[in-house]
Structure formats: C-alpha cells, structure tokens
Symmetry: C2
C-alpha cells in the first residue's frame, strides 16, 4: 500500500507541473520530463524484445466500428467504449448547429454515428489484418503494437486515465505455442520491471466485465487463470496493475476467422504494458525529481546520457 | 505535379507493406520503416527548435467538448469534427445493446454524447491552460505540442488521413511579437524542409471552411495573408501542404480570454508540421526504399546510424 491517496498523488503531479489539467478528469497534458520517461519506457520494451522478431506495426487511436462489433467488447465493456459521431447534414443544418453551440444549447441532434470508434486496446486492429493474410505461417506470428487507448471512466485517480498509451506484443499460433509464450512473459515482464527498480508482484486477475453477468465472466477468467497482472503500488490502498499478460484462448481466432497453419482456430495471447502507469510507478517509487533517480534505473532507461529534451 | 495519382501512391504504399488497410479509407496501420521516419521528422523538429526555449507539452488525442465549443471550430468545420459518444445506460439496456450488435442491428439509441471530442488540431488544448495562468508574461510564451488530430474526410488520397499527427509550435504574445514570429517561420520552415531534400514552395492559402459562408471566410483569409503553406508534390496534379504557418490574430485570445502582460487580447500564431505528409513527401521524392535515400537526408534525420528498429 502507498502512503499517498490517488487524489493527493494527482495533486502532486499537477503541483510539480508534470501534468496540467484539461477540465475533464482522466484527461491531462503532460510536461517534460513525464513524457520523456513514457518514451524511455516505450523504447526499453522495444529494446528488450528486439531479438524476439516481432513485426512492428502502429495504428492510429481510432478503429473501424466493424472491428469492435466483431468482438464481444460491447457486450463485456459497453460502459468503457467510445464511439465517434460526426456531422453529415446540410448547409442549413450546419448554420443551426453553429447557432446552438453559440447559444450553449444541446447540438447532438446534428451528430450521427460514423464508421469509427476509439481504440479500446492496442491489439484490436491487428486481428482483421492478420485474418486477411490467410492461415498463419507455421509457428504462428508475433506482433508489436503501441497505441493510445480509450476507456470512458472519468476518475481523479492518476492511474485511471481515459486516454492512455499501451505497448503490447501479440502472439498468434497454436494453443501450445501461445500458452508457452504467455507463461514466459509472466516472468519476463517481472524481470523487465525489476530492471527499472519496480519489484512487481504477479497476481491472477480479471477484467472489469460490466453488470451482473460480468461477475460470472470475471470468476471464470480467474478460475482458468487467463489473466495475470504485475502490480506495483502507485497511490492508494491497493497496488495498481502496470503490466498484464492475457490469454484469449481461441476467442479472437473465432471472432476474426484466424486459423493456424494446421487449419484450427488460432489461439492468441498478449502482454500489455501500461506506459503511463509504469511511468507513474517510477515517479511514485523513485520520486518526482528524475535527476535524483537511482543511476542504474536512469541507465536502463537511457536517461543518463545528455539529451536535448529531458 | 507528381507522376502518380493519389490512389496509385496508396496502392504502392500498401503493396510495399509500409501501410496496411483497416477497412476504412483514411485509416491505416503503418509498418517500419514508415513510422521510424515519422519519429525522425518529429525529432528533427524538436532538435531544430531546441534553442527557441519552447515549453514542451503533450496532450492525448481527445479534448474536452467545452474547449471546442469555445472556438469557432464547429461553425467553420462542422463536417470535419468528431465527437465522442458513450454508453451511460442500465444493465438491461446493456444487454439489449449487445443483442443488437450480435444481430448486426443499429445500436446508436444506446449512445449519448460524453464530454469529449477528437482533437482537431494539436494546439487547441493549450489555450484554456494558458488562459488559466493569468496574463502572459512579458514577451509572451512559446509552446511545443504534438498530437494525433482527427478530421472526418474519408479519402483514398494517402495525404488525406482521418487520423494523423501534427507537430506544432504556438506563439502567444502581442500583435508585433506574434507577427514577427510568424514571418520568420515561413522562411525557417522552408529551410527545415530543404535540409531533408524537400524544396517546398511557399503559397498564401486558406482553410477549407464549410459551406457557402465558408467561401467568404476563405477569401478573407487569403486577402489578409493569414495562412502560408509550404507545398511539395506527393501524388496527383497539385502539390500538397506539408507545413503551414498560421496567424490567428486575436481570435483565440478573445475566445479563451488570454491577455498580454499589457492587458490586451493576446495574438497567437502557430506552425504546423504534418508528420505523415512530410514523411509521404520524403517517400515520394526519395523512393520507397529508405536505405537508398541520399546520405545527407539520412544523416539529417539521424537514420544513418545503426538503429535497432529501422
């Protein structure tokens, strides 16, 4: 447990000028060196996995609505999803929209759903793309993704942002290949975090499924040990998940029609490193003054060399 | 003019595996080395402006709805804006939402506007934050921002993405200070682009204001020379704006109540470097094989040294 409450840690970040408010809980601007550390953590992950041969691919923070509709996301997390609306009206309607805005009146009548949603997790965009390439090659594939993700859960807890970055590796292949990869990453993830001074604990965990039915899904996920979280104190009574390792079984294989070389529904797993959360854990553990962090942590993050924008 | 049509350049990018389709025009995944070059251009801008003393600040790709409502954005570009909707219903409604999704039926009845929009330009989030700090210091302020921006204009032109990154510097101060800064950047921007082999032409330009009234606003903007674009061929008959320098006069100063040290409405200006567009111009000019680019261009982008993820 941390000595700070989440709210007081947020106040510290704001007072130190590392974050600036936007007017909305869970949405902040970040000033150096906060994002410099986020980038250093991001690069550390790339460096540590460079020999694994992952294909690096990056997607924007919006995703086709059709991709999300193919998954169970809207059944499991309807409350967290963000969908994008736009204006597709006439010139007269545009005039009325602008007048409403100026009079501070409601203008949603002039918005209609467009074909996009906000990306809920960095790995979602890869599945339709992988499926479009036909059956997986022998031994499957390994992908590296990083993206802004969105979850609608306004909060004054700095570790619960509405818009945040997640760096993931995604393994697709046979059940055996994917399970073995998942097993290895519970350990590798802990070692990666230890290298920057974060002694994280591994716990069996579940996703925050919505509603009454969600409790059963969560219990099932825990019983089958499908999700491991590496947790570290940031602020508040409970430690925060800063890295997760998730085994999806053949859910995405079925949803997107991805098959192995042998013709079976592909299994998938991913690790997800929460870049802001790891960065917050670093600030919580080592202090708000980066220059005072332990030398080996700065070295591991390559923040020890003179840099033009630290 | 370029020899390629926009569509054929898109096909080349997809065939080369630099981009991958998402199913939606204007939304693509990028594979290395495309984003490696985007990052190199981004870093080049930081390096070239390091001595200017800009305050570096980064915001997520979503912005409070209230911030956009304070500006004329929805009057000028209603068709380009994206607003975020979410689910705030009951458990029973969540069950019905999921059933609709599964039956491939319309589910927008369960979505309501939340307090966020997609960021339309990287500089918007700074204005309320600057205003909250009180009058500007003497000689004003200079800010460095970079963000994913969203514009709803699906297109098969690779230079017209719906979600793209823009690196901006924003100058706030007196009319004289801001005008002088703006003047200097028309030249500096061209020099920056020339350093990576892009001989861009400077043209007086206008924004794509919506509708009949928009034509007058555009004509006014051109007459007052408020917007300069540095244009370079990418694909198609006309060259593409890859860098713009914009003088907002005291519009944002008025909208957000930002005043100079002398107590007048602040003037503002910005330059905006379109990171994907500059990268596309580099690929169009120097070829799709980065290893074959001129040595001085690679050196200027620091892409000549061995890197672990080129």
């Amino acid at each position: 447990m941390s000595e700070r409450s989440p709210e007081s840690f947020l106040d510290e970040l704001l007072a130190a000028g590392l974050w600036v408010p936007s007017g909305i809980d869970g949405i902040y601007g970040r000033r150096n060196p906060f994002d410099r550390v986020v980038e250093a953590v991001d690069t550390l992950i790339l460096r540590e996995t460079a020999d694994d041969g992952a294909e690096i691919i990056r997607f924007p923070p919006v995703i086709p609505r059709a991709t999300i509709e193919k998954t169970g996301y809207l059944a499991s997390f309807p409350n967290l999803a963000g969908s994008v609306y736009g204006f597709e009206g006439t010139e007269d309607e545009a005039v009325e929209l602008a007048a409403r805005v100026q009079r501070r009146e409601e203008w949603s009548e002039f918005q209609t759903p467009i074909e996009l949603m906000l990306t809920p997790a960095a790995c979602y965009p890869v599945y339709p793309w992988v499926a479009s390439a036909g059956p997986l090659p022998e031994h499957g594939r390994l992908l590296d993704v990083q993206s802004y993700c969105f979850r609608h859960e306004p909060s004054r807890d700095p570790a619960r942002l509405q818009s945040f970055r997640m760096h993931e590796n995604v393994r697709l292949g046979s059940a055996e290949e994917v399970f073995a990869w998942r097993e290895s990453w519970v350990t590798r993830g802990a070692e990666l975090l230890a290298s920057i001074g974060l002694g994280a604990e591994s716990v069996v965990a579940s996703d925050p499924f919505f509603g009454r039915g969600g409790r059963m899904l969560s219990a099932n996920q825990v019983e089958q040990e499908l999700k491991f979280e590496l947790v570290h104190p940031i602020a508040g009574e409970k430690p925060t998940a800063i890295f997760s390792v998730n085994y999806h079984q053949d859910h995405f294989g079925h949803d997107f029609g991805i098959s192995t070389a042998a013709g079976e529904a592909a299994h998938t797993a991913c690790f997800g490193a929460g870049l802001e959360r790891i960065t917050l854990a670093l600030f919580a553990k080592h202090g708000l003054d980066v220059a005072g962090w332990p030398g080996d942590v700065l070295e591991c993050l390559q923040l020890d060399a003179p840099r033009f924008h630290l």
